[in-house]
Point group: C2
């Protein structure tokens, strides 16, 4: 098993970051404009569609202002069954976001791509909260050919 790990500090309250991870409006502001489903209840399923495909995430854990855990229940083969977690902690004026995408079977080239892409979307999340403007798909920074 290999994991994708990231960390970013966002000048905001943990409540605000949590909202951006658990509401369709928040998620649509930084990850993909084409977001649907339910993210604010355990057992809910979020649907994320992108130019090149999409993912469904089942909400496994929610701890307001502290933690969100999703399981990928539909999407590319490499993603199915993997877990995406967000751990938040307040540090003075910032919320520290610790991100993990765990359970990859092999460190395939697609995993390299997803690692970089997650970082780009975390910067979009940071920008959304700090400036009011994120860069969700299809307005995201391109990293592929």
């Amino acid at each position: 098993m290999v994991d994708i790990l990231h960390r970013v500090a966002i000048r905001s309250s943990a409540a605000e970051v949590y909202a951006a991870l658990t509401t369709v409006e928040g998620l649509a502001g930084w990850w993909t404009t084409n977001t649907g489903g339910e993210g604010n209840g355990v057992g809910g399923v979020l649907r994320f569609a992108f130019r090149g495909g999409g993912f469904d995430m089942k909400v496994l854990e929610l701890d307001p202002g502290k933690r969100v855990l999703w399981e990928v229940v539909a999407g590319p083969d490499e993603w199915i069954g993997t877990h995406v977690s967000w751990d938040l902690k307040q540090a003075d004026d910032y919320t520290i976001v610790l991100f993990k995408h765990e359970g990859w079977k092999e460190p395939v080239e697609f995993m390299h791509h997803c690692s970089t892409h997650w970082a780009v979307f975390l910067m979009s999340l940071k920008s959304l909260i700090e400036t009011g403007k994120g860069a969700p798909d299809p307005h995201d920074v391109r990293i592929d050919a």
Copy 2:
């Protein structure tokens, strides 16, 4: 052992990307303006200084236009002895960069930070080559508090 993995496509020749990884001028354009040493010969040592510290990298392998491998010989404890590799391949008008920072002992919080920071600097490398303007330290996008 846990690894940081990334992938980015850069609209350029592999020779141009290779130059940005092996010359002091190239490295100073995307990673840190305070770069010194020798990167274009096996056994050479590159010195990278940042606002908050620095790293020395010994060049272990060079395959022009294809691969660069460094070993960290000075820097933060967690980095000492780790390996940073760059594998390049041409795909039509793009060079695909596969990046690995391997040999971390534990997935500590600092590793999460470094994973995101590498992605930010890979985007700086892409920008340098595609637009002529990178964002090396101290002009880099801030991800920490």
